[in-house]
């Protein structure tokens, strides 16, 4: 988007996490700053899966990490219930992290290769308790079992003895063993084969139902995001473009960038018409010096002078469907 605004936020008592005006910047030498996330606002209701989608470099992972203050945002607010996470001391935040856990893209490098699977999954319990070894073992076994790993076979093995998909199951077990409320999944299936990807997506859906989890699901693959999400937020160059329920978003994309992403998906259907001219206007601009106004205007077929001078604000196009665009592809209600 392209733009800012908070029209899409829900009343605070209905949401588990509320993020407002989140800004994350990194120094980049010679006095320049990388504007990774530039003032985005969103919320996550309890039990919901929020899909964050966009190209590499759009700031989706940085946004996910800002939720657990890794690192703390440059400015803006992240509220978890009534607690403002950005105000917490490091120690208080550390204690909060049992409630907010994260899994990463590369399952193999996120597990310590020198430790056994039993140790890896028990590690959070060693910090947070229960400290009784037998109790720990019961919890670890139950968790491994829940993610589809046989604890008797796996307990004494090390990560290299497992495939990528199994390692991702193990890292899910490790994150869930402390019984978190919110699980942030950063591209959890991008490194996996399609067959294994389907297993992990099904597993996440099952675990979400069983443990009453709330998920943030970060991915660049729109088909994957649609499959797991209750609400999808499309990001572009540190800004939010569009927020909607997945079935709405995919049926009637209002933002030209969403339409571009959707048109790029390779459909496994030879009769589908390939749009040869789509996305000829190339590449993501630099986040060091982003375009004025709407950040997507340099690649946007709809761009006008207004887009260069004024940043679009989030507005509702239909119930629960919000877009930040001066020239949305669907008519704006009201």
């Amino acid at each position: 988007m392209a733009g800012s605004g908070k029209a899409h936020l829900r009343p605070e008592d209905e949401v588990l996490i509320r993020v407002e005006d989140l800004v994350v910047e990194f120094p980049s030498g010679r006095g320049r700053t990388v504007k990774a996330v530039s003032g985005i606002s969103f919320d996550i209701a309890k039990g919901e899966t929020l899909g964050l989608v966009g190209e590499s470099g759009c700031g989706k992972s940085t946004t996910g990490r800002a939720l657990i203050q890794l690192p703390s945002p440059t400015s803006g607010s992240v509220r978890h219930g009534l607690v403002e996470l950005t105000d917490l001391s490091d120690e208080a935040m550390r204690r909060r992290r049992t409630d907010i856990q994260m899994i990463f893209q590369d399952p193999i490098s996120s597990l310590n290769p020198r430790r056994t699977v039993g140790d890896i999954v028990a590690e959070p319990l060693r910090v947070w308790g229960p400290h009784d070894k037998d109790e720990q073992k019961v919890l670890v076994d139950r968790m491994l079992d829940a993610v589809g790993i046989d604890p008797d076979v796996a307990r004494d093995k090390r990560p290299h003895e497992f495939s990528g998909g199994q390692c991702q199951r193990i890292s899910i077990a490790r994150s869930l063993v402390v019984d978190p409320e919110l699980l942030i999944c950063d591209e959890p299936v991008s490194a996996l084969d399609v067959s294994v990807q389907a297993q992990i997506l099904n597993l996440l859906e099952d675990l979400k139902a069983e443990y009453g989890l709330t998920l943030v699901f970060i991915a660049h693959d729109l088909a994957v995001v649609k499959n797991v999400s209750d609400r999808v937020a499309v990001m572009y160059l540190g800004k939010l473009c569009e927020v909607a329920a997945p079935d709405t978003l995919y049926a009637e994309a209002a933002h030209p960038y969403t339409a571009l992403l959707l048109g790029s998906i390779p459909e496994p259907d030879p009769s589908a018409v390939l749009d040869e001219d789509l996305a000829v206007a190339g590449e993501l601009p630099s986040p060091i010096d982003p375009p004025s106004g709407c950040r997507f205007r340099t690649r946007c077929p709809q761009a006008s002078e207004l887009c260069a001078s004024e940043e679009p604000q989030m507005r509702e196009v239909s119930a629960g469907h919000y877009v930040a665009c001066h020239h949305p592809l669907v008519a704006v209600a009201g």
Binding site: S195, Q199, V224, N227, P266, D269, S271
Partner: protein, 366 residues
């Protein structure tokens, strides 16, 4: 007459190609007897999961599997010469000139210490003896052709100064420099964003058509081969399990593995939270492949015969559509086998039945 024309167009004939890697644990049979033919100007997709042998197959034909522990047998006849028995010196002459390859990771396939310009012109200068000035002019043309803006400036850049998509365009320009007649593209877009993937696939398709070049597109994504290839090979455990013109493959998938790959793919046409038909289990150990059909331990249609006898790759109705299965998708035997397995509670059949009860046993693109 038509025979003569056909032989004339034939560019590559691979016959019973087998590649084995000897490691301390035993012999890994990565490719176990693959045969196919490719005509000039045609595109072939090779699809399968990681470890199915698709990359090893492409690299075996290119003679890029170096090392004393690799054994490749069979034939790969390219324009009348068997590539597998050519001296390495002759292969060096073929690389770039006749056969070229684009790899998955555009960062590691470029030399980080050498400016892009020298890498693009290397083949021209080496193979064609083109002078420096003329090579530089050709390089600008090539970069224009792969739609890189400001080519003169880009030629002076180092690879790290370019984005992933730009680097892959450079790799394609390098591969096209000497106008090869066959291009291998090994997962050329797997490391790229979906929008960039779309652009790169369009670019490869356009170049392939304009140059009448044959192309082998290796990918794990059925969505990438659909609409962009003439024919498709589906590989599993080092063997071809289904081989057909891409359109017939998607119209009527016959092998349970092809069907399973397609089913496990999330689609934007499905409603949110649609349960996916994951393929249970993992691909087999290629040091000691299972007896019978290699897919039988994971197959929802499996029958006792599948565990004992390897099904041959053969055609039933359409001579161009070949598959290796005793209980093919869509056949009466297949439907019976599936129904029986669901009734008996076989986990992989139940999983499919739960996820896609209405489409079970029908196959096709749905």
């Amino acid at each position: 007459m038509s025979d003569a024309v056909e032989t004339d167009r034939r560019l590559l004939t691979v016959t019973d190609l087998r590649t084995t890697f000897s490691i301390s644990a035993g012999d890994v049979q990565a490719v176990r007897g693959v045969s196919f033919a490719l005509d000039r100007g045609r595109t072939l997709g090779i699809v399968g999961e990681s470890g199915c042998g698709k990359t090893v197959l492409a690299r075996s034909i290119m003679r890029l599997n170096l090392g004393s522990n690799v054994t490749t047998t069979g034939m790969a006849e390219f324009a009348g010469r068997d590539l597998l028995s050519l001296p390495m010196a002759d292969m060096h002459e073929m690389w770039g000139m006749e056969l070229a390859m684009v790899f998955q990771d555009p960062m590691t396939s470029l030399n980080p210490l050498v400016r892009v310009g020298r890498q693009v012109t290397e083949h021209l200068r080496q193979h064609l003896g083109v002078g420096r000035a003329e090579a530089a002019r050709t390089a600008v043309d090539l970069l224009n052709e792969v739609r890189i803006p400001e080519p003169e400036a880009r030629l002076k850049a180092y690879p790290h100064e370019l984005s992933g998509g730009m680097r892959q365009r450079i790799c394609i320009a390098i591969a096209l420099a000497c106008e090869p007649s066959l291009l291998f593209a090994d997962e050329p877009t797997t490391a790229l964003d979906v929008t960039v993937q779309h652009q790169i696939l369009n670019l490869l398709g356009r170049e392939q058509r304009e140059r009448d070049m044959a192309m082998v597109l290796v990918t794990h994504d059925l969505g990438v081969v659909a609409g962009r290839t003439d024919d498709t090979l589906v590989m599993y455990a080092g063997m071809v399990v289904e081989q057909a013109p891409t359109e017939s493959l998607f119209e009527e998938m016959r092998h349970p593995y092809s069907e399973a790959l397609l089913r496990s793919l999330p689609r934007t046409s499905q409603a949110s939270h649609t349960r996916l038909a994951a393929i249970t289990g993992r691909p087999p150990d290629l040091i000691d492949p299972p007896s019978g059909c290699a897919f039988s331990p994971r197959c929802p249609y499996v029958q006792p015969r599948c565990r004992e006898e390897v099904p041959p790759l053969s055609a039933v109705d359409d001579p161009d559509h070949r598959f290796a299965c005793w209980t093919p998708v869509g056949s009466p035997e297949g439907m019976d086998a599936f129904a029986r397995n669901v009734a008996e509670g076989l986990p992989q059949a139940v999983a499919v039945d739960l996820a896609a009860p209405s489409s079970a046993g029908r196959g096709g693109a749905g």
